[in-house]
């Protein structure tokens, strides 16, 4: 009544192959439909994040395309991972720094910091973090306005050594019971500001190395 083991195995393998092909087809079809939207979502998220730290600065270049990663030791020491330059009619109007720190309560905190060419803070957003929900997540802009205390500040306002939480002799509020997170973010912003002060001329003179990207913004071509 039962077929021989080998013939049954062969039939089973044929079924397995058939299912594998059908499954691959299903995933491929879904991918085809979803891929453009997924890419657009990633792009939109990146652009929304950048725009969110620029206050209401107006720019006319393809901001996301100007992203580049400085390779210097100074950038690495400050935790600077990526830099974008917003221009209007070819003139720099703002810089966005992506800065990371490992001094939080758990894992890395990655921040976006928007600055005027003079180094004044336009906005700060948290890109990703793994701080404790309910305790360390006040660094998310939609949970708390804690980050807004940095708006309009810069080095000298207050001075670099006062860019700390009050507990450490600085000018910024921490959150009681979650000083570790507040200290990490304040420290990361301070390092980013110091880095920007030291490298502003280079950062503001950045030109997209790929001319095909640059053509989206003819005014910036000298």
């Amino acid at each position: 009544m039962t077929p021989s083991p080998t013939s049954e195995l062969r039939r089973g393998l044929a079924v397995l192959c058939g299912v594998a092909i059908a499954a691959a087809g299903l995933v491929a079809l879904t991918w085809q439909a979803a891929a453009p939207r997924i890419e657009a979502n990633v792009q939109a998220r990146a652009e929304a994040g950048l725009a969110a730290v620029l206050g209401n600065r107006v720019f006319d270049n393809a901001l996301a395309a100007t992203g580049h990663s400085p390779q210097s030791a100074a950038a690495r020491a400050a935790g600077i991972e990526r830099v974008w330059l917003a221009r209007r009619e070819g003139e720099p109007v703002a810089v966005v720094l992506q800065v990371a720190t490992a001094e939080g309560y758990s894992g890395r905190i990655v921040l976006l910091l928007g600055l005027t060419p003079a180094g004044e803070v336009l906005g700060v957003e948290t890109l990703s973090h793994r701080e404790t929900p309910g305790l360390g997540d006040f660094i998310e802009a939609d949970r708390s306005d804690w980050l807004s205390q940095f708006h309009g500040r810069g080095l000298g306002h207050p001075s670099a050594e006062r860019w700390r939480v009050r507990r450490d002799g600085g000018d910024f509020d921490a959150v009681t019971g979650a000083t570790v997170t507040a200290r990490a973010v304040t420290g990361a912003l301070q390092r980013a500001l110091v880095y920007f002060e030291g490298h502003a001329p280079t950062l503001l003179a950045y030109r997209d190395p790929d001319p095909t990207h640059g053509t989206a913004d003819p005014l910036t071509v000298p």
Binding site: V15, L26, T30, A33, A34, I38, N41, P133, G134
Partner: protein, 228 residues
Amino acid sequence: MTSPSRADILRDGLWRRNAGVVQLLGLCPLLAVSTSAVTGLGLGLATLFVLTCTNLLVSLLRPVLVGSLRIPVFVLVIASLVTVVELVLAAWLPALDQRLGLFVALIVTNCTILARAEAFASRQPPGAALLDGLATGTGFAAVLLILGAARELVGRGTLFAGLDLLFGPAAAGAGLTLPVDGLLLAVLPPGAFIGLGLMVAAWRWLNLRPHANVAQAGAATPTGESHR
């Protein structure tokens, strides 16, 4: 083998053999994602979809399945369905996808799905398998939703915050906010275990009261083996 009645399939999946509070299957995503009602419901619906489709497909493949090679077929079906859900979420519900993160992919490891494919769908006609998938998935999603809602309410003092992640901008601001701070413990990992423990206890209490005679049989055989 006889098919269980529809009422039995429904009662088993939703209550007597509930995947979350009776069989305690799929605990990893259950505990990790139940920090709010919306994320709980989101993962619950995704799991419901995968479970139902897997049950239906496995039941349809039943005539050609070969005993020794059936598990790889189940795994293939489950893995591709989960991949489809992941892609669809990333494309059409990106904000929810960001919240659920890795846990959508982890639906693949939810033992409930493989268990239903093996123990039920591969031995029953498509109609019964479909119903079993719907019932079991709904039972699991309900536990996720209740646990998520309870943790959100106690931990943050909100309910259904961020409903727009699931239902689009029309639902923005539909959530409820209480004027209290919330008890942090509830949204931390221990809160998940405590909450689920309370739910298991509540299930037992409801079932073991003397007049709960129908359910008592289910409690005695919580894996529902009585059908086979």
